[in-house]
Amino acid sequence: MAAGAPVIEAKGLNLTFQTGDGPVHALKDVNLTVNRGDFVSFIGPSGCGKTTFLRCVAALEHPTGGTLTVNGMTPDEARRKRAYGYVFQAAGLYPWRTIAGNIALPLEIMGFSKAEQAERIERVLELVELKGFGKKFPWQLSGGMQQRASIARALAFDADILLMDEPFGALDEIVRDRLNEELLKLWAATGKTIGFVTHSIPEAVYLSTKIVVMSPRPGRITDVIDSPLPKERPLDIRDSREFIEIAHRVREGLRAGHGDEV
């Protein structure tokens, strides 16, 4: 598939949860196209459906209306083809496995040979700058290192889509800045398509080629911003005029979404 070809396509996507208090519209009429190699951030307040959308793409939730395709397949088919790696808010490493053992988990399930497992573990540990930590147990690593290990785990089986649900949400800002920088490097090195859920405006603007602004009740898209920032992004780009303009537009989008409620 050529770069720039659509990878994720949502048309008129709806998802309604039936709860004790009546139906909840988690997603309403969501239309979105994500192209190969895009870094797409989903930003919005709690309950806007950003995580739900990501979970739909990963076939962890099933839409009640509209169409959603991943690489031209249904999300379920794409999951069976191992189209994506998923990174959760918590690292969720198994405490009884070493870091290398944790990265081996998806590889074991997917039936890679022992030799190939070892080779891939080495490669992804290097990618996330954890070389030499393979034999450590999770409790011996800091929170930021654990999250890097969980990213390595998602990268190990070469899925071309990386879905990240607030992966740095629980980390402090200094560690977060560093991991953001590393994530951009990783993205440049691997050319993966990344879907990234966040609460933070600077994080979304700094990382993304496309920012999807969402609003709650019902969860819907209020704005899609294609970032004019260059691919090469040093941390101090955040002081540039373009950066501040985009951040301003995101904030406006978030405010507009909230305005509807009142």
């Binding site: 979970r55 990963a58 076939a59 962890l60 999951r79 069976r80 191992r82 994506y84 790696g85 998923y86 959760f88 808010q89 918590a90 969720g92 198994y94 405490p95 009884w96 496995r97 070493t98 988990l105 998806p106 074991e108 399930i109 997917m110 147990f137 409790w139 089986f157």
Partner: protein, 289 residues
């Protein structure tokens, strides 16, 4: 180490003091009766020594129990019917059989309860009800039934009674342990398209291990109690339970108390053993040393 030993020794000291006081108080009745029959009187100072060395005291003082225990452990060949080592080994063997059976039953039931909803709804309530029936009422029935089935070996009903008590803590803990992985952990495996059995072997089972080992300490103590109860009504002539019954029936309190202490020591040894196994397993599963 010293911080650990000191509180334990202080409590032990207090218990010994209370015990001696109680022994004097309870055994004094006999001393006064004897004196009355002989038409003499005894002073308090004369009475106290006489409460310390009776043949059949109501409450034997600690040193008598220790002496009897020592006699039972070191005073004879370990193969002798009077040896507490011999009887202790019989009880230990029964406990281990019941413990093993209880672990197998508890784990097997827990796995099927977590796997099949219908088992959860049908078996779990009965497992709880099973523990409300007093084991002393059930033990003779188990013996009669196994006799009826033509099982002559006394070890079998004993192991069943022991397992009946010890499977329950394992079952409850394992159900909790196998269900301990949260939604995120399960979602992660779903994104790998992992099968039900892969989820079990790679996530649920290892996640349940801390719960499993915590339950073993309770289960091994329950297995010991089950074995001793199983040795009481079965007409058994071997084992610490039988020894206690003999002591009580033949009015030999010293034998009874020595057997009681032997079983307490056995219980302590079993718990240390299980604790050691737990520590080894925890290290092997990457826990902090």
């Amino acid at each position: 180490m010293r911080e650990k030993v000191l509180p334990v020794l202080s409590v032990l000291g207090i218990i010994v003091v209370i015990w001696y006081a109680a022994a004097v108080w309870m055994n004094s009745t006999w001393v006064y009766d004897q004196a009355e029959r002989a038409g003499t009187t005894v002073s308090f100072a004369e009475m106290v020594p006489q409460t310390m060395a009776q043949d059949r005291p109501l409450l034997p003082p600690p040193h008598q129990v220790v002496k009897e225990l020592w006699k039972g452990v070191a005073g004879q060949a370990v193969t002798s019917k009077r040896s507490l080592v011999y009887h202790g080994f019989v009880t230990f063997r029964g406990t281990m059989m019941g413990f093993a059976l209880g672990i197998v039953m508890g784990v097997a039931l827990a796995v099927s309860i977590v796997r099949f909803r219908v088992m959860d709804m049908s078996v779990m309530p009965w497992a709880i009800i099973s523990q409300t029936i007093p084991i002393v009422a059930l033990a003779p029935m188990i013996l009669t039934v196994s006799n009826q089935l033509g099982i002559d070996n006394r070890e079998v009903p004993k192991a069943i009674i022991s397992a009946y008590l010890s499977f329950f803590p394992v079952l409850v803990s394992m159900v909790k342990g196998l269900r301990s992985p949260d939604a995120m952990q399960l979602d992660l495996l779903r994104t790998y398209n992992a099968s039900e059995s892969e989820t079990f072997w790679k996530l649920r089972l290892p996640a349940s291990m801390p719960y499993f080992f915590a339950s073993l300490k309770v289960a091994v103590a329950a297995a010991l109690i089950g074995t001793i109860v199983g040795e009481l009504p079965t007409g058994a002539i071997e084992g610490l339970g039988a020894r206690m019954l003999i002591g009580s029936q033949f009015g030999e309190p010293l034998i009874m108390w020595a057997a009681l202490f032997a079983s307490a020591i056995l219980a302590g040894m079993l718990i240390v053993l299980v604790g050691t196994v737990e520590q080894v397993a925890r290290r092997r599963m990457g826990g902090p040393a």
